[in-house]
Amino acid sequence: MEQLKAIIQKLLSEKSIIDWLVVHAISKSNIEIDGVEFSFIDGREGRDEAFKTNQGYISLKTSPLITDFTRIVAELSEEFKSKPLALANLFIIISRASYKGEDKEILIESLKKYLGKDTCFKIFNLLIASLNLEYYKESHSSKKPKTTNDWLDIFRSAEYMHSFSDPLMNCLRLVRSERNWKIDFEIIENMKPLLRAVLIGQYGFGLNISVPKMKLLYGNVEELIFLSACLIDDSEPNKIPPNWLKKSLIEKFLEAHWDTIGKEIFVHVFGISYRNKNRNKLYEKLEGLIHAILFKKLLLDQSETRDWINKFEFPNEFIAFFNWLLSKKIKHSSIPNNNIAAIVNQFINELERLSKEIPIHLAAENGSDPFTSYQLHEAKYQDTIVYLLLFLLYATEANHKQIKNICLEFKPLFYGGHRACSLAIHFAELMLLIGLSGYRLTGLDENEFKAIKKYLELISDTLLIPYVHLTERQDDIWNPESDREVFQFSAGRHLITTALAKVRKHKIGEHYQDFFARINETKVAAWNYETVVIS
């Protein structure tokens, strides 16, 4: 064993960098000791290894060898006490030792005891600084996260970083003895995104943050983005809110960082997101806090509120917004008129933006659907459509003109090829569904019926003829014997025929007479809304 000590001693004094493959260097000395073996799995290079190749193991087969090795570690620790780099490499060697009783971490524990807390932290920081550069550098390059969703993407990408005897987890053993899944913020503070993501996304650690630390973090945008992702990532049913989740933090997210954090957590909590399908205590608390802050804001007749509304994007943020109103029973009549007008304007501006982006969607290789029509079957999307009609009842003459122009932008897509036509159909279905939601509104007065009529007239003058002509070629429209099964791709068409049938049977139907007449002027088939039985 003295020979082994001499080799390690020499390596530790010579190494000027942290060498994660130091065990390879030891084995290259061709040392042979009974009961001590080196193994490197298959030694081949692979992207699934943190350093491209396995770090290797030193196996100690007998108890006397373990005792001897513990002694050597103590002696070397003493010898290199003032050389943190050598100690870091010594730690790597220890972390690669395989022996009976390894689960009790005898070697690491004795090293920690010997070095003391401060030195352990110093070595840990050195090791993390090295891991920041070396860990999966061959296979993983992550950009600097700029939004909550960027962080969530990195979490997802790290979820499969499985590695036996992960060097990152080994390093944690230097600075923490707890066996729970909570980790102090200070420990991860100097880690680059991938290392943090492995701990949060892959191993599922939660964060402990002290009050003074939290105060400091409030002023650090990058860390706030990270914290928001840590909260949103916890969508499992048994998750509970961490003690650092305070109203002031959410306020910071929503008020100071809407573009990078606020809107994304708003959508994850209230909009269409798989993360809010399971309800848990954490999400309940997030809902409550977001509601308290935004409710106050929405009711204030002030330009800041309208600046905030002017940032809403369609469809995601509008879906979140209206489902927030719905879930918290916020009456639209309680919203100041100026803010209502801002919401109407912003929706129309968003349609305008999407119309300007048509070239991007047409050229998108993977086929692109700016209206996310594949989500139309979601109740949250359908409720959003009803709210859109409700708010469009407040539309001005100028708004109507703008809507008409947007419809005229989309209309020529009906004349084109398959992709162009799909975009036109998605748009037309959205606009038609809005107009046909009248039967879900109650308490409308004459002026509001007029507003619905006006809106339907716009659609009739622009999109209706090509939509009706192309749509009635589908079996489920013309064929009275069709199975009429609802498919994801035909959800829009199905919702429209159902809405037509419901409007027809509803007392509001009399206000839709002109619209039905316009359909009749174009259609050939007996549309199923005329025959379908509504339950």
């Binding site: 047409l362 050229a363 290789e365 084109g416 003829i465 013309w478 014997e481 174009t522």
Partner: protein, 502 residues
């Protein structure tokens, strides 16, 4: 007033040559819209006031687009060719037009499966067309399917041409197309009364036409030997018709007569949606090839390994035998990998053939084998979920644009008709589109580890479902190879976007 579509869009692409414009391409297309006036409307920025859409300034390539009533635009098309002049708002543009031959598509222009019939203008060795205009990529920029060029602007209306429409026509020396509006006819056999391997005894259809109230519209079905096997009236109020046939049919033609004069004829092969005899009675499952399989508890155990295997279609005397063997082979893979499976194949499960008239979908022999194998394995061993991961940017050259619709329709119909909901509950079949390219085909098993799907077993498949004539399968046993493949594909899988969930 009836507002039945009556409009056409005419577009010309020209290149300035001195004081003349060389005509590079001309296209008249009927559109699903109504136009109220006899005047031609030239679009703003694409012809209005004689100002063209300067799509490619460097080569002086321009576009002119107008809209109007079908007949007006048809006459304008002819006039442009006969006078070699384009006149807009009093401004005259002289066109250089190559000598050409006009070809109507088919001896009888009304015999066509499309809604429209068309004339094409053809010139061998057309010297007017510049080299740049022959290049596929340039045409993709012009047609709007590629963006980001600083020099090329897209044609108006955006997406007017299908992606390679101009390119494909130029390859055939065609530079002009004039489409005529005809009524739209679609029909299909009634599935409920269809007999397997024999055909349909009833047919329903839709004739979308601006019906003349004083004329009578009749539909006649004929069999392969041109004998009438059914006749019915097209209901003018709805365009609907239903034919009772004197004999079951799979192949023949449907004719529409107006006051006994033929207006439209379509020859058809009724592609039958795959059907299983389906019912699982007395614990027996009858598969797509007519074989009965007992379902017993002792068959629930999954195989722990599978051998390497090679399948070649032409080794078998009969197609049916070959397909059965393929299906059994695929089933053994599903049995081995199940109950949670990931199929990674850039081409998904290939293109499902669709008849343009009847829109009936007809899976190929290996798609049927795949579905049969999946069903058999689901019934016998259980399948919780199968994820099919493809890469659209690669698949799009082989699979139709509406692949999601076709997959959804085929599989949902299949499950519904054969009452297999118990074995394929909602969300048990998912199609995912990868965000990054991959090439190889691997089928994996997924196991759940702390709520996360992890790749466990892997089988290498050498060919894609869709058009298979031979296939090698090799399970990956080497641990390090498996881990390497698994790492790459879990990454691709987790980042992929679910496009369809059945």
């Amino acid at each position: 007033m009836k507002t039945y579509p009556n409009a056409s869009v005419l577009t010309l692409i020209t290149q300035t040559d001195g004081s003349n414009e060389k005509l590079l391409f001309i296209y008249l297309n009927t559109i699903p819209d109504f136009y109220p006036s006899n005047r031609v409307h030239w679009y703003n920025g694409a012809g209005k006031d004689g100002k063209p859409n300067n799509v490619w300034s460097e080569f002086s390539i321009k576009q002119w687009t107008g809209c109007g009533i079908d007949s007006v635009m048809g006459n304008l098309f002819d006039e442009i060719l006969s006078t070699s002049k384009l006149v807009i708002d009093g401004k005259e543009f002289h066109l250089t037009i190559p000598p050409f031959t006009l070809k109507s598509n088919g001896a009888d222009p009304m015999r066509n499966r499309r809604e429209t019939v068309f004339d094409s203008l053809k010139t061998e060795n057309n010297i007017l067309i510049p080299q740049e205009f022959y290049q596929k990529e340039n045409l993709q920029f012009l047609s709007g399917y590629k963006i980001g060029s600083t020099e090329i602007k897209p044609f108006y209306p955006l997406g007017f041409f299908e992606e390679d429409f101009i390119y494909d026509n130029l390859k055939k020396n065609i530079w002009g197309i004039k489409e005529y509006r005809t009524a739209y006819l679609t029909f299909h056999g009634v599935r409920k009364t269809s007999q397997k391997n024999v055909g349909s005894k009833e047919m329903v259809g839709f004739y979308q036409q601006n019906f003349n109230s004083t004329s009578d519209y009749t539909v006649i079905a004929k069999n392969e030997t041109n004998q009438e096997i059914g006749q019915a009236v097209v209901e003018k109020k709805t365009g609907f018709f239903k034919l009772s046939l004197s004999e079951p049919t799979k192949r023949g033609k449907v004719e529409i007569l107006v006051n006994d004069k033929e207006e439209k004829t379509i020859e058809y092969v009724l592609l039958q949606d795959i059907q299983f005899d389906g019912h699982i009675a007395n614990a027996t499952f009858k598969d797509a090839y007519g074989r009965s399989h007992m379902i017993t508890a002792d068959k629930k155990t999954r195989p722990e390994s599978i051998p390497n295997f090679t399948w070649q279609q032409n080794v078998y005397a009969e197609d049916k035998e070959a397909n059965q063997k393929l299906s059994d082979l695929l089933k053994s893979i599903f049995d081995y990998l199940g109950p949670k499976i990931l199929v990674a194949d850039p081409y998904f499960i290939g293109d499902i053939r669709k008849d343009k008239t009847t829109t009936a979908l007809s899976p190929s022999h290996c798609q049927t084998a795949f579905i049969n194998a999946l069903t058999h394995s689901a019934i016998e061993k259980g399948i919780i979920q199968i994820n099919i991961l493809g890469y659209w940017a690669r698949a799009k050259n082989h699979v139709e644009n509406d692949w999601i619709d076709s997959y959804e329709k085929t599989l949902k119909n299949f499950i519904a008709v054969n009452k297999l909901q118990k074995y394929f509950p909602p969300s048990s079949i998912n199609f995912l589109n990868a965000k990054e390219d991959f090439h190889n085909r691997y089928w994996f098993s997924l196991t759940e580890n702390e709520g996360v799907d992890v790749i466990d077993k892997c089988v290498i498949i050498t060919n894609s479902i869709g058009n298979m004539s031979e296939l090698d399968i090799m399970p990956v046993i080497d641990e390090s190879q498996l881990r390497q493949i698994a790492r790459k594909y879990t990454g691709i899988f987790t980042k992929a976007e679910i496009r369809l969930s059945i």
